[in-house]
Symmetry: C2
Subunit: 261 residues, 2 copies
């Protein structure tokens, strides 16, 4: 929504296109400079930052909606995207006055106001998805109502709107727990990468350092990555081997994963 006209159309006609009472919130993890960051946005006249999100079209699959929303926000397609929980308990989600009030502050920028009975004033549940994207390839779409965006370090997330902090916590927990069952990182690293690169990624995600030798043993033994017969030149140092993801194994890991016995 890039213009006031589009916003007005959304507010008045959106209920025909979208399901009410339900939104998707995306925790978009980006990796850059050996840090794990999250993409936050701030709407017009809002004190708190929010997660990027959107609504589900009436005849659209849920997963498809999540992909669409993510690509609308980041211009990226075909990303690693994973549903992790549906949020519908927080008292802030049930407080109609606060919801309506916040919306109206935002929509004031387009000179529109909504009343208590408007579809956007209603309580919503939110399905949480997390995504892993390459920070560099993201170009955040400028939207009329979004006045600011920022990548913040996962360890320094400010106080967010509604229950979005809780959503991020759960996303991180889920991401961490799935790290060794999925080829997480497939979207964050070039096709071929060095051991150090993927180790730095895992360290950023899990927030702790690993031993080089043990890390390699584990990743290769699990079948997540494969060593290639190729090296990369990297300045005044020994040339490291390249690796790639073993995607055949990935699906097997995923099926077995989660089930401990």
């Amino acid at each position: 929504m890039n213009s006031p006209e589009e916003v007005v159309d959304f507010i008045y006609n959106g209920h025909q296109r979208f399901l009410p009472h339900l939104s998707i919130d995306c925790v978009i993890f980006g990796y850059h400079d050996q840090q794990l960051k999250i993409l936050l946005i701030r709407y017009h006249d809002q004190e708190h930052w929010s997660l990027p999100g959107g609504y589900v079209e009436r005849q659209e699959g849920l997963t498809a909606a999540a992909h669409r929303i993510l690509s609308e926000k980041t211009q990226l397609t075909n990303l690693y995207l994973q549903q992790f929980y549906t949020f519908g308990d927080s008292p802030t989600r049930l407080n109609r006055i606060e919801i309506q009030d916040n919306h109206n502050k935002v929509y004031a920028k387009a000179n529109v106001a909504i009343d208590e009975e408007h579809w956007l004033s209603k309580r919503t549940l939110s399905v949480g998805y997390y995504a892993l994207v390459d920070y560099h390839e993201v170009s955040v779409t400028p939207e009329f109502l979004v006045v600011d965006y920022a990548w913040v370090d996962v360890n320094a997330v400010p106080s967010l709107q509604y229950d979005h902090n809780e959503i991020i916590d759960k996303a991180l927990l889920t991401l961490r727990s799935q790290l060794y069952q999925q080829s997480v990182g497939y979207n964050l690293l070039p096709e071929k990468f060095t051991l150090s690169e993927i180790q730095a990624l895992y360290e950023a995600i899990l927030g702790k350092p690993f031993d080089r030798r043990n890390f390699r043993k584990k990743m290769v033994a699990l079948g997540v990555i494969r060593q290639l017969d190729e090296r990369r030149k990297i300045g005044p140092h020994r040339s490291p081997y390249l690796y790639d993801f073993n995607l055949e194994n990935a699906s097997k890991l995923q099926e077995a994963g989660g089930v401990i016995f």
Copy 2:
């Protein structure tokens, strides 16, 4: 809903009380006779069985709704209940004609019909919860539109309505993967139980046998259960020790659980 009048009221006025487009489906695992079973229901004039489910009230938390629905169906409160996934992709969920048609077959019993624009004809997403209940304590509430119910073995689930088979598969996967991080079974076993009892439960859930000695070592080492200084008399056999759940540890396990490192 025990009478045609209540059904009619629900159909005509339910949209005021409940959120549209959203339901909760419960995979109710019951344990009996060393078998893990699932509670299924069959609505009037429906060929396929379904999972018990319900709708979320407009000002009700999602978790609260799940508990309410479960206790409406089983008369049990305070159960182990866990959200596991939200389903919104299956083509059967988007096929309005099929949905409306199925509803109308069911509602014919109350001499009501709904049209294409009715709130119950619309596409719904479904939040999946699973519960663990003691088969014996459940008294399934007779409902006017539900003509039959059955406990079926998890290994012999018939073909169900919509995507309910998929929901059960995911529920089982989740239950199995969480088995050692949560005090699953707290609601299925008496406060004090023998090792054999809990082992039989775990075997039923995971579908494979364990070695007595190794099982005991593992459960005690993980801190899930504690051996008591007490035995039970069980007929012409040696008296087994009693155990109980170590609920203090349970919360710690739960926090650490899922996160592998």
